[in-house]
Amino acid sequence: LTAEAVRAVIPRRSGRLLAVFPRLLTRWETTSSIPEAGEGQIRLTDSCVQRLLEITEGSEFLRLQVEGGGCSGFQYKFSLDTVINPDDRVFEQGGARVVVDSDSLAFVKGAQVDFSQELIRSSFQVLNNPQAQQGCSCGSSFSVKV
């Protein structure tokens, strides 16, 4: 049984996301009248921009989603996409684009997207997320400040 198979078998706790989300949405709506400053943005590090320029083709961009799951309750999910939906927010830097849907944005606004390269793994990461209270040490999963 590979680690990947184990990952596939572990059920997503989307119920928990649904249970928590309405409250967070309410809070976000309350503060939406405040003009969006840097706090509402997502920043891309240089290595993230560079990597995205390398791997994207045509109108492709990096999509960041937050979904229920992982050992701390929520986790980041990255994918390549070409379709921008009405509720998406586009963050562009140096020609590279990261797109986040409005639901996920509530969980990551103010954070940084990085591409980290270590000997054992190279991957996109979310760093310095002010919405995250704590995460597991591999950085994929986090719990939310309330």
């Binding site: 049984l1 590979t2 680690a3 990947e4 184990v6 990952r7 572990i10 791997i55 799951g69 992982g70 050992c71 701390s72 986790q75 990255f78 994918s79 390549l80 000997l119 054992i120 793994r121 190279s122 991957s123 996109f124 597991c136 040490s137 591999c138 994929s140 999963s141």
Partner: protein, 129 residues
């Protein structure tokens, strides 16, 4: 009585036979190729070293680093011309493991397919035995 003795003896022998033939660590071709590529630009390093540390939500997590020498208690695996050293602490949990290298556009990583693992955290990085 004598029949039962014979059976017990055979069992022990066959058990002992099985143990040494179980490789400490095997590498997939893609892992071998990646390690060769990594070491190509680092002639002073003889190989990679696998360690294990207490980290992550499920207790243990593997680490990987370049190494110039074989440590006193390291176990050495040589396969297709590449060397991987295993730290003493990692040896028990790694026994029988296959080391793979998986790559796609978004990420690339070494993966340990470990038959000894009883559970991993959701993202698969940390595990317990």
């Amino acid at each position: 009585m004598s029949a039962s003795l014979v059976r017990a003896t055979v069992w022990a022998v066959s058990k002992r036979k099985l143990q040494p033939t179980r490789a400490a660590l095997t590498l997939t071709p893609s892992a071998v190729n990646k390690i060769k590529q990594l070491l190509k630009d680092k002639p002073e390093h003889v190989g990679l070293k696998v360690g294990v540390r207490t980290r992550g939500c499920n207790g243990l997590s593997y680490s990987l680093e370049y190494t110039k020498t074989k440590g006193d208690s390291d176990e050495e695996v040589i396969q297709d011309g590449v060397r991987v050293f295993i730290e003493k602490k990692a040896q028990l949990t790694l026994l029988g493991t296959e080391m793979d290298y998986v790559e796609d556009k978004l990420s690339s990583e070494f993966v340990f397919n470990n038959p000894n693992i009883k559970g991993t955290c959701g993202c698969g990085e940390s595990f317990h035995v």
